[in-house]
């Protein structure tokens, strides 16, 4: 299922604390043990009307629209070490595809398996939420084959599941943002804590606990002793233990203002579960909260903090202030940072409103999609941070650095109408059907007079950008707007899906680093999820099709194979079999 985030709705970044099925979570670039699958990163402006210009803090007054968070609009597809897993709510089956042989099998799950998440560990394993039977199916492929176990009594309406990095715990919860028209009094506070190492029929296999109002994210401490639910009431801390049921032990308050709009909070939790870093839209202050003690430190920057990203190891956070082009690097390894420990860098002459950190934490890519800016800034986070500006040839929409920080994929914005810098509704208003395939950055025909959408949208181009050396980027025109980016763990391959329903144009672009070669593979139907199975050296794109469709791309050669009909395949019957 493809989802797009509301612009600057409560955006939560969990810095790789756990694998998660939530599209709101950052891709699990650190990966759990044994989990080699990598999810796709989508982008898109979402729906209009967030109305956060000026923000809730005290530093409003900017004439520019807010930065648009674009990293994770796809539901993260599920790949484990050797298999790609795909749930079909209609049939009640889960298909699993051997990424090496492309052999497809199916297995029965519960009623309407919808949400699926990888369980890190030695085996290929996933947990599947069955939304109509209110249970979860744990599927595990080990040396003895496939095993299936059901955990009954999952809290009703659960639509997201988070799994701890050690593969011991899963929490099924309800993300209210995925619920259509939730009742004002619907708090979705039930979290089902599942002990994945317990007998599924035992009393300790599952516990339902109550978190704060409307959780937006769930994460785990690296040592597996705590879980955290970010809610409108604060951060609910849950104690986990094999010998006794999970229980809520505290709620960490993250604001002194009881009327604060929780939707404007951007909360990140460090992987060790020690700290929460909080950014508020329109505010110059960054709060860092010690989740053990509740102590809070406030770092105030030169203006409204427009974006904040946490390194995958949780050692530092990088915040950007667009109005002043300030970048602040907050050290977190030693606990609550003092104001004096924060490094400040001003990117002179540039507009930087968003930041994307490479997984290794050594490189931050700074950009803005609030204006038609054809540049990104590469900030090297050494003892003395330094930066350089990379020129591109089309406005930037979003940036995806490889894990090693050596390269990046930049998706370019649609420039079909008006100026992206006007702040009056963002970039582009071209209807999809009127956009032709043009040169890079060329404007497509606008549907004159149409009401422009609120945010920027993808144009018809992306760039492969070398970061390790000062080499020119390569821009690639696409025949449909790029939609999702997946990067291989080694950073040598990128899969970019493109999608244009109106013209029925769907494709995958395979980008090769460091050669910057691009190969295109046409798809027969709209892509809905993408990922990489690193152990098999393959990427995949799941597509809309009633019988199930998956295109698998061999990353080394670019050879693509499409499998369609694994739902049908599951119904083939050999009558000689008992």
């Amino acid at each position: 299922v493809t989802r797009r985030l509301l612009p600057l709705a409560l955006v939560v970044t969990l810095a790789a604390c756990a694998g998660s099925s939530s599209g709101a979570s950052a891709p699990s670039t650190s990966g759990g043990a044994g989990s080699n699958g990598i999810g796709g990163s989508g982008f898109g402006p979402g729906s209009a009307g967030a109305g956060n210009i000026g923000g809730a803090g005290g530093t409003g007054g900017s004439s520019l629209p807010p930065e648009t968070e674009l990293e994770s609009s796809y539901e993260v597809p599920v790949a484990t070490g050797h298999f790609i897993w795909s749930a079909n709510p209609q049939s009640g089956r889960v298909a699993y595809v051997d990424a090496a042989t492309l052999e497809v099998h199916t297995v029965e799950a519960g009623n309407a398996p919808t949400t699926i998440a990888a369980i890190p560990g030695a085996d290929d394993a996933v947990i599947v939420l069955n939304v109509l039977s209110d249970d979860a199916t744990i599927l595990r492929i080990g040396a003895s084959g496939l095993s299936s176990a059901t955990v009954h009594g999952v809290a009703h309406a659960a639509n997201a599941v988070a799994v701890s990095a050690d593969g011991a715990w899963a929490i099924a919860w309800t993300d209210a943002r995925r619920v259509s028209f939730p009742a004002p009094t619907a708090g979705y506070q039930d979290l089902t804590v599942i002990n994945l190492r317990a007998d599924p029929q035992s009393a300790l296999a599952k516990t339902i606990v109550a978190a704060g109002f409307r959780p937006v994210s769930v994460a785990f401490a690296a040592d597996g002793t705590r879980a955290f639910a970010v809610t409108e009431d604060g951060i609910t801390v849950i104690a986990l233990g094999a010998a006794e049921p999970a229980r809520v032990i505290k709620n960490v308050i993250v604001t002194d203002d009881p009327t604060e709009n929780a939707d404007t909070r951007d909360v990140s939790i460090t992987p060790n579960g020690g700290l929460a870093v909080i950014r508020r839209e329109g505010s110059a202050a960054i709060d860092v909260v010690d989740l053990a003690t509740g102590a809070r430190s406030t770092i105030t920057l030169s203006g409204a903090v427009t974006d904040l990203d946490l390194s995958s190891d949780g050692a530092r956070a990088v915040a950007v202030v667009r109005d002043t082009a300030e970048v602040a690097v907050l050290p977190l390894a030693a606990g609550l940072p003092s104001a004096g420990a924060v490094a400040h860098v001003t990117i002179a002459g540039e507009t930087v409103g968003s930041v994307a950190l490479a997984a290794d934490g050594g490189t931050a890519l700074l950009y803005s999609n609030a204006i038609a800016l054809e540049r990104i800034t590469v900030l090297t986070l050494g003892a003395t941070p330094s930066y350089r500006v990379v020129k591109l040839h089309a406005p930037v929409l979003s940036v995806f650095p490889t894990a090693n920080g050596a390269s990046a994929v930049v998706i370019h914005a649609d420039t079909s109408t008006g100026s992206a810098a006007t702040g009056t509704g963002g970039i582009g208003s071209a209807a999809s059907g009127t956009g032709g395939i043009g040169d890079a950055g060329a404007a497509v025909t606008a549907d004159g007079g149409a009401v422009p959408p609120a945010g920027p949208r993808a144009g018809h181009a992306f760039s492969l950008v070398p970061l390790a050396a000062d080499l020119p980027a390569k821009i690639q025109t696409t025949d449909a707007p790029p939609e999702a980016v997946v990067l291989s763990p080694a950073g040598d391959r990128a899969l970019i899906t493109a999608h244009d329903d109106a013209r029925a144009v769907y494709a995958i672009y395979l980008g090769l680093f460091p050669t910057l070669e691009v190969q295109r593979v046409a798809l027969a139907s709209p892509p809905i999820a993408a990922g990489i199975v690193a152990a098999a050296g393959r990427g995949y794109v799941a597509q809309k099709h009633p019988e199930g469709r998956l295109t698998v791309v061999t990353l080394a050669s670019g050879e693509a194979r499409t499998l369609t009909g694994f739902e049908l395949g599951s119904r083939v019957v050999d009558w000689t079999q008992p």
Partner: protein
């Protein structure tokens, strides 16, 4: 199932009623002596005389003589089919079950195999009280006959539409194995049967029977029909019924046992289905992996073809005026624009300069000017846009007839027009032949010397030499039903059948076409069994 199959159940039923009401006199005396159907066999022409429960063989000989052989067959003929090679005639009969007071003996249902010059073989279907009326003959080895329930006719009070009866014609009737097998059904019933050639499968070389129903497929091992695999074409999660329209078979690399494939086109979907038969630990030894590929429109014809890029499943998509090549391994597709909305393709490899790669003939474009086109499949990987070459046939082609013993020639039958063509695949020329009337019928000489042209129910008959395209007309006194050329030890003869006069025939020397030596025979049916 077979275009040469004749269904005679209504006549049989009429005969049965007549029998019940006319005392001891054979019912045939009360029936008009008419030709129910006629088939050109090797060395003879066979006329089905259903009311008399017999087949009459017309065997021309020296000086255009005509010898008649009456071959009694089982009572109440249900279905007649000629073998694809034209040497045998298969007659399925219901037999007779005598009610109380009926002096006629009981007779079991039977399948008769009639081959001129050979003893008649009669396979008694003793386990059946009400035989299935459908009959499919193995076109490759002529080893298997499969009886199935004809959806248009119900023979019995209760009928199992998914029952198949396998008759091994490779065994003599006395010891032949006759096996009944009921297909596992998801609600469908058989609509079409396809015999595969021998396929290299993990369990060895096997011939399979592919049964298409209105919503699924079944694959059976002809040697052991209990080895059955069912392939539903709907997911079961909605009420869509995808209906197969045709299948095509490819064995892949003969040295491999994991690449035999079955391609399926659908009546009501733009996808083609590829089934790859891969090794499996089951007793069957293989299992089909299902893959669907969208070709952009409902395909009108499909075929596995060998291209310069490897094996592909070719699909014609008239709605898009294009052909689509599907890589059965990767599912990648290549679209090739066509000059017309061709609906049919025939492989003419080897005849048109193809060797390791195929050449296809595209036809049945629908419009008069569409004609035919050659599709060079050796250019599909490198220069697909140059792979189509049209031939200036300014008529819509309705059928492409092979010319026996002339692999490089085809006769193009046009749709409702007064012309036909002799197509030379080597030179890619098409010689037009114009007729004075439309609605012509064509039949081929068994040795490919000439093509016979006639207008049914008229007296217009002509023979056109294939080599020189020189037409010669014949003098015919009575309206023509069918024209056959018979080649036997006494020479080559044209046997022109007439309906009038209780079945008549004009016999010509097919070599000389000399009007002066032709002979006209009347009442060939009334002379038959009662002489």
């Amino acid at each position: 199932m077979n275009s040469k199959t004749l269904v005679i159940a209504p006549l049989a039923a009429a005969a049965a009623l007549a029998c019940a009401g006319c005392g001891d006199r054979p019912a045939a005396w009360s029936q008009p002596a008419t030709v129910n159907a006629a088939y050109g066999l090797t060395g003879a022409v066979a006329i089905v005389d259903a009311p008399a429960d017999r087949v009459v063989l017309l065997i021309p000989g020296t000086d255009q003589s005509l010898r008649l052989e009456s071959v009694p067959v089982g009572r109440h003929i249900l279905t007649v089919a000629a073998s694809p090679k034209g040497n045998r005639l298969f007659v399925l009969s219901a037999g007779h079950r005598a009610p109380v007071g009926d002096s006629e003996a009981d007779e079991k249902p039977s399948l008769m195999v009639i081959e001129p010059g050979q003893p008649v073989q009669r396979y008694v279907l003793s386990s059946l009280t009400d035989p299935l009326a459908g009959l499919a003959i193995d076109p490759i080895e002529e080893r298997w006959a499969v009886l199935y329930a004809d959806t248009d006719r119900t023979q019995a009070f209760v009928q199992n539409p998914n029952e198949l009866v396998f008759v091994d014609l490779g065994q003599p009737p006395e010891t032949a194995t006759i096996r009944e097998h009921t297909l596992h059904s998801y609600g469908g019933r058989p609509a079409r049967l396809t015999f595969t050639p021998a396929l290299s499968l993990p369990v060895g070389s096997r011939r399979l029977l592919v049964v298409e129903s209105n919503q699924d497929l079944s694959i059976l091992d002809l040697e052991n029909p209990d080895n059955e695999i069912s392939i539903p074409l709907t997911s079961g999660t909605d009420n869509r019924h995808l209906t197969p329209a045709a299948v095509t078979i490819d064995d892949g690399d003969p040295a491999r046992t994991d690449d035999a494939r079955i391609g399926v086109r659908l009546q009501n979907d733009s996808s083609v289905v590829t089934l790859t038969l891969v090794p499996d630990a089951s007793p069957t030894g293989y299992r089909p992996t299902v893959n669907l590929t969208d070709v952009g429109g409902v395909p009108s014809d499909i075929a596995f073809v060998r291209t310069d890029g490897g094996l592909r499943l070719a699909a014609l998509v008239p709605a898009r005026t294009e052909a689509v090549l599907v890589d059965p391994v990767t599912s990648l597709t290549t679209e090739i624009a066509l000059p017309a909305r061709y609906q049919s393709l025939s492989l003419v490899t080897g005849s048109a300069g193809g060797s390791a790669v195929d050449v296809a003939l595209l036809w049945n474009g629908g419009a008069p000017s569409d004609g035919v086109a050659f599709w060079e499949l050796g250019r599909t990987a490198g220069r697909p846009y140059r792979s189509i070459e049209t031939i200036g046939v300014v008529a819509a082609v309705a059928a492409v007839l092979p010319v026996p013993q002339h692999a490089d020639l085809r006769v193009l039958q046009t749709a409702s027009t007064n012309e036909f063509y002799v197509l030379d695949l080597q030179t890619r020329t098409a010689a037009p032949l114009v007729t004075s009337t439309s609605a012509i019928a064509l039949s081929m000489s068994p040795i490919g010397e000439q093509v016979w042209t006639f207008t049914p129910s008229s007296t217009l008959v002509a023979a056109t030499g294939i080599a020189d395209t020189h037409p010669r007309s014949l003098v015919i006194e009575r309206p023509v039903r069918q024209v056959f050329e018979v080649d036997n030890a006494d020479g080559r003869f044209a046997v022109i059948l007439h309906d009038a006069g209780n079945g008549g025939a004009t016999v010509y020397d097919a070599t000389t076409l000399d009007d002066g030596t032709r002979r006209l025979y009347s009442s060939v049916l009334t002379e038959g069994p009662y002489q």
